[in-house]
Symmetry: C2
Protein backbone atom coordinates (compact mmCIF):
# COMPACT_ATOMS: atom_id res chain seq x y z
CA UNK A 1 0.00 0.00 0.00
CA UNK A 2 1.12 3.51 -0.66
CA UNK A 3 -0.43 5.02 2.46
CA UNK A 4 -3.71 5.79 0.72
CA UNK A 5 -6.70 4.42 2.56
CA UNK A 6 -7.85 1.08 1.17
CA UNK A 7 -11.49 0.01 1.00
CA UNK A 8 -10.55 -3.65 1.39
CA UNK A 9 -8.57 -2.95 4.56
CA UNK A 10 -11.32 -0.83 6.10
CA UNK A 11 -13.98 -3.43 5.32
CA UNK A 12 -11.76 -6.31 6.51
CA UNK A 13 -11.29 -4.52 9.85
CA UNK A 14 -15.02 -4.70 10.54
CA UNK A 15 -16.07 -7.77 8.56
CA UNK A 16 -12.92 -9.92 8.44
CA UNK A 17 -14.22 -12.19 11.18
CA UNK A 18 -15.94 -15.54 10.89
CA UNK A 19 -18.63 -14.87 13.52
CA UNK A 20 -19.49 -11.45 12.15
CA UNK A 21 -19.99 -12.91 8.68
CA UNK A 22 -22.27 -15.65 10.02
CA UNK A 23 -24.29 -13.06 11.95
CA UNK A 24 -24.78 -11.05 8.78
CA UNK A 25 -25.88 -14.23 6.99
CA UNK A 26 -28.61 -14.83 9.57
CA UNK A 27 -29.69 -11.20 10.02
CA UNK A 28 -30.16 -11.10 6.24
CA UNK A 29 -33.33 -13.13 6.89
CA UNK A 30 -34.89 -10.37 9.04
CA UNK A 31 -35.05 -9.36 12.71
CA UNK A 32 -33.62 -11.86 15.16
CA UNK A 33 -33.46 -12.21 18.92
CA UNK A 34 -30.29 -13.04 20.80
CA UNK A 35 -31.50 -16.60 21.41
CA UNK A 36 -32.28 -17.10 17.71
CA UNK A 37 -28.77 -16.03 16.76
CA UNK A 38 -27.18 -18.13 19.48
CA UNK A 39 -28.91 -21.13 17.90
CA UNK A 40 -28.32 -20.32 14.23
CA UNK A 41 -24.67 -19.26 14.47
CA UNK A 42 -23.35 -22.71 15.17
CA UNK A 43 -20.64 -22.78 17.84
CA UNK A 44 -20.75 -19.15 18.98
CA UNK A 45 -20.63 -18.51 22.73
CA UNK A 46 -22.97 -15.97 24.37
CA UNK A 47 -19.97 -13.76 25.16
CA UNK A 48 -18.71 -13.77 21.58
CA UNK A 49 -22.21 -13.17 20.25
CA UNK A 50 -22.79 -10.22 22.57
CA UNK A 51 -19.42 -8.74 21.60
CA UNK A 52 -20.02 -9.08 17.86
CA UNK A 53 -23.54 -7.60 18.14
CA UNK A 54 -22.24 -4.67 20.16
CA UNK A 55 -19.50 -3.97 17.64
CA UNK A 56 -21.86 -4.19 14.65
CA UNK A 57 -24.24 -1.81 16.43
CA UNK A 58 -21.36 0.58 17.20
CA UNK A 59 -20.35 0.52 13.52
CA UNK A 60 -23.93 1.26 12.49
CA UNK A 61 -24.57 -2.05 10.69
CA UNK A 62 -27.39 -3.11 12.99
CA UNK A 63 -29.84 -1.64 15.45
CA UNK A 64 -31.49 -3.18 18.47
CA UNK A 65 -35.14 -2.56 19.19
CA UNK A 66 -36.55 -3.18 22.65
CA UNK A 67 -40.26 -4.03 22.77
CA UNK A 68 -42.09 -3.04 25.90
CA UNK A 69 -43.28 -6.48 26.89
CA UNK A 70 -42.89 -8.58 30.01
CA UNK A 71 -40.20 -9.80 29.84
CA UNK A 72 -38.85 -7.14 27.45
CA UNK A 73 -38.18 -8.45 23.96
CA UNK A 74 -35.04 -7.29 22.16
CA UNK A 75 -34.58 -7.75 18.44
CA UNK A 76 -31.63 -7.04 16.18
CA UNK A 77 -31.95 -6.02 12.57
CA UNK A 78 -29.68 -4.74 9.86
CA UNK A 79 -29.54 -1.07 8.93
CA UNK A 80 -28.97 0.07 5.35
CA UNK A 81 -25.27 0.05 6.12
CA UNK A 82 -25.58 -3.58 7.24
CA UNK A 83 -27.77 -4.66 4.34
CA UNK A 84 -25.26 -3.23 1.87
CA UNK A 85 -22.65 -5.65 3.25
CA UNK A 86 -24.69 -8.68 2.15
CA UNK A 87 -23.01 -8.98 -1.27
CA UNK A 88 -19.90 -9.99 0.69
CA UNK A 89 -21.88 -12.82 2.30
CA UNK A 90 -23.21 -13.85 -1.11
CA UNK A 91 -19.68 -13.90 -2.53
CA UNK A 92 -18.66 -16.19 0.36
CA UNK A 93 -21.66 -18.42 -0.32
CA UNK A 94 -20.82 -18.72 -4.02
CA UNK A 95 -17.23 -19.55 -3.22
CA UNK A 96 -18.09 -22.01 -0.46
CA UNK A 97 -20.65 -23.79 -2.61
CA UNK A 98 -18.32 -24.06 -5.54
CA UNK A 99 -15.02 -24.89 -3.89
CA UNK A 100 -15.60 -26.12 -0.36
CA UNK A 101 -18.78 -28.16 -0.21
CA UNK A 102 -18.95 -31.56 -1.80
CA UNK A 103 -22.73 -31.31 -2.05
CA UNK A 104 -23.58 -27.62 -2.53
CA UNK A 105 -26.69 -25.81 -1.40
CA UNK A 106 -29.27 -25.18 -4.11
CA UNK A 107 -27.92 -22.40 -6.27
CA UNK A 108 -28.91 -20.57 -9.43
CA UNK A 109 -26.32 -22.38 -11.54
CA UNK A 110 -25.81 -26.11 -11.11
CA UNK A 111 -24.02 -27.88 -13.94
CA UNK A 112 -23.86 -31.61 -14.24
CA UNK A 113 -21.32 -33.30 -16.49
CA UNK A 114 -23.37 -36.44 -17.10
Amino acid sequence: MDGRACGVAEAAKILGDKWTLLLLRDLAQGSRRFKDLERSVDGISPTMLAGRLRELERQGLLTRTTYNEIPPRVEYHLTDKGTEALPIVEALRDYGNRWLLSRPEPSDAVLSST
Copy 2:
Protein backbone atom coordinates in the same frame (compact mmCIF):
# COMPACT_ATOMS: atom_id res chain seq x y z
CA MET B 1 -28.98 -23.74 10.39
CA ASP B 2 -30.71 -27.04 9.91
CA GLY B 3 -27.56 -29.16 9.98
CA ARG B 4 -27.07 -28.95 6.24
CA ALA B 5 -23.60 -27.77 5.27
CA CYS B 6 -23.53 -24.05 4.54
CA GLY B 7 -21.33 -22.48 1.89
CA VAL B 8 -21.06 -19.25 3.88
CA ALA B 9 -19.88 -21.08 6.98
CA GLU B 10 -17.31 -23.13 5.08
CA ALA B 11 -15.94 -20.06 3.31
CA ALA B 12 -15.94 -17.99 6.51
CA LYS B 13 -13.86 -20.68 8.24
CA ILE B 14 -11.06 -20.19 5.73
CA LEU B 15 -11.52 -16.57 4.68
CA GLY B 16 -13.19 -14.94 7.67
CA ASP B 17 -9.97 -13.36 8.82
CA LYS B 18 -8.66 -9.86 8.26
CA TRP B 19 -5.08 -10.86 7.41
CA THR B 20 -6.12 -13.60 5.02
CA LEU B 21 -8.32 -11.17 3.11
CA LEU B 22 -5.51 -8.62 2.84
CA LEU B 23 -3.13 -11.34 1.61
CA LEU B 24 -5.61 -12.28 -1.12
CA ARG B 25 -5.89 -8.60 -2.06
CA ASP B 26 -2.14 -8.38 -2.59
CA LEU B 27 -1.65 -11.79 -4.23
CA ALA B 28 -4.34 -10.76 -6.72
CA GLN B 29 -1.63 -8.57 -8.26
CA GLY B 30 0.60 -11.57 -9.06
CA SER B 31 3.43 -13.53 -7.44
CA ARG B 32 4.86 -12.06 -4.27
CA ARG B 33 7.77 -12.79 -1.98
CA PHE B 34 7.42 -13.00 1.79
CA LYS B 35 9.14 -9.62 2.18
CA ASP B 36 6.79 -7.99 -0.33
CA LEU B 37 3.76 -9.23 1.58
CA GLU B 38 5.23 -8.23 4.92
CA ARG B 39 5.46 -4.71 3.54
CA SER B 40 2.11 -4.52 1.75
CA VAL B 41 -0.07 -6.10 4.43
CA ASP B 42 0.19 -3.21 6.83
CA GLY B 43 0.65 -4.27 10.46
CA ILE B 44 1.09 -8.03 9.97
CA SER B 45 3.86 -9.72 11.97
CA PRO B 46 6.20 -12.25 10.33
CA THR B 47 4.69 -15.00 12.50
CA MET B 48 1.13 -14.16 11.50
CA LEU B 49 2.12 -13.85 7.86
CA ALA B 50 3.88 -17.23 7.87
CA GLY B 51 0.85 -18.82 9.55
CA ARG B 52 -1.66 -17.39 7.09
CA LEU B 53 0.47 -18.36 4.09
CA ARG B 54 0.87 -21.90 5.40
CA GLU B 55 -2.88 -22.23 5.95
CA LEU B 56 -3.75 -20.86 2.50
CA GLU B 57 -1.25 -23.28 0.97
CA ARG B 58 -2.73 -26.17 2.98
CA GLN B 59 -6.21 -25.22 1.74
CA GLY B 60 -4.96 -25.12 -1.84
CA LEU B 61 -5.52 -21.40 -2.42
CA LEU B 62 -1.85 -20.63 -3.06
CA THR B 63 1.34 -22.37 -4.02
CA ARG B 64 4.92 -21.54 -3.21
CA THR B 65 7.61 -21.80 -5.83
CA THR B 66 11.26 -21.99 -4.84
CA TYR B 67 13.72 -20.70 -7.43
CA ASN B 68 17.14 -22.26 -7.40
CA GLU B 69 19.16 -19.11 -6.82
CA ILE B 70 21.66 -18.03 -4.21
CA PRO B 71 20.05 -17.21 -1.86
CA PRO B 72 16.97 -19.26 -2.88
CA ARG B 73 14.02 -17.12 -3.91
CA VAL B 74 10.55 -18.18 -2.78
CA GLU B 75 7.42 -16.75 -4.36
CA TYR B 76 3.77 -17.20 -3.50
CA HIS B 77 1.00 -17.11 -6.02
CA LEU B 78 -2.69 -17.88 -6.13
CA THR B 79 -4.01 -21.13 -7.57
CA ASP B 80 -7.33 -21.27 -9.42
CA LYS B 81 -8.98 -22.00 -6.09
CA GLY B 82 -7.39 -18.83 -4.69
CA THR B 83 -8.19 -16.69 -7.70
CA GLU B 84 -11.84 -17.70 -7.50
CA ALA B 85 -12.00 -16.15 -4.02
CA LEU B 86 -11.20 -12.68 -5.38
CA PRO B 87 -14.86 -11.66 -5.86
CA ILE B 88 -15.06 -11.70 -2.05
CA VAL B 89 -12.19 -9.20 -1.93
CA GLU B 90 -13.92 -7.07 -4.56
CA ALA B 91 -17.16 -7.11 -2.58
CA LEU B 92 -15.20 -5.91 0.46
CA ARG B 93 -13.59 -3.18 -1.63
CA ASP B 94 -16.94 -1.96 -2.94
CA TYR B 95 -18.38 -1.91 0.55
CA GLY B 96 -15.35 -0.22 2.09
CA ASN B 97 -15.23 2.44 -0.61
CA ARG B 98 -18.91 3.19 -0.33
CA TRP B 99 -19.49 3.03 3.42
CA LEU B 100 -16.21 3.29 5.26
CA LEU B 101 -13.87 5.64 3.41
CA SER B 102 -14.54 9.34 3.35
CA ARG B 103 -12.50 9.72 0.15
CA PRO B 104 -12.90 6.49 -1.80
CA GLU B 105 -10.37 4.87 -4.12
CA PRO B 106 -11.01 5.40 -7.84
CA SER B 107 -13.90 3.16 -8.79
CA ASP B 108 -15.95 2.42 -11.89
CA ALA B 109 -18.96 4.33 -10.62
CA VAL B 110 -18.50 7.72 -9.00
CA LEU B 111 -21.61 9.87 -8.75
CA SER B 112 -21.54 13.53 -7.83
CA SER B 113 -24.64 15.33 -6.66
CA THR B 114 -23.60 18.79 -7.84
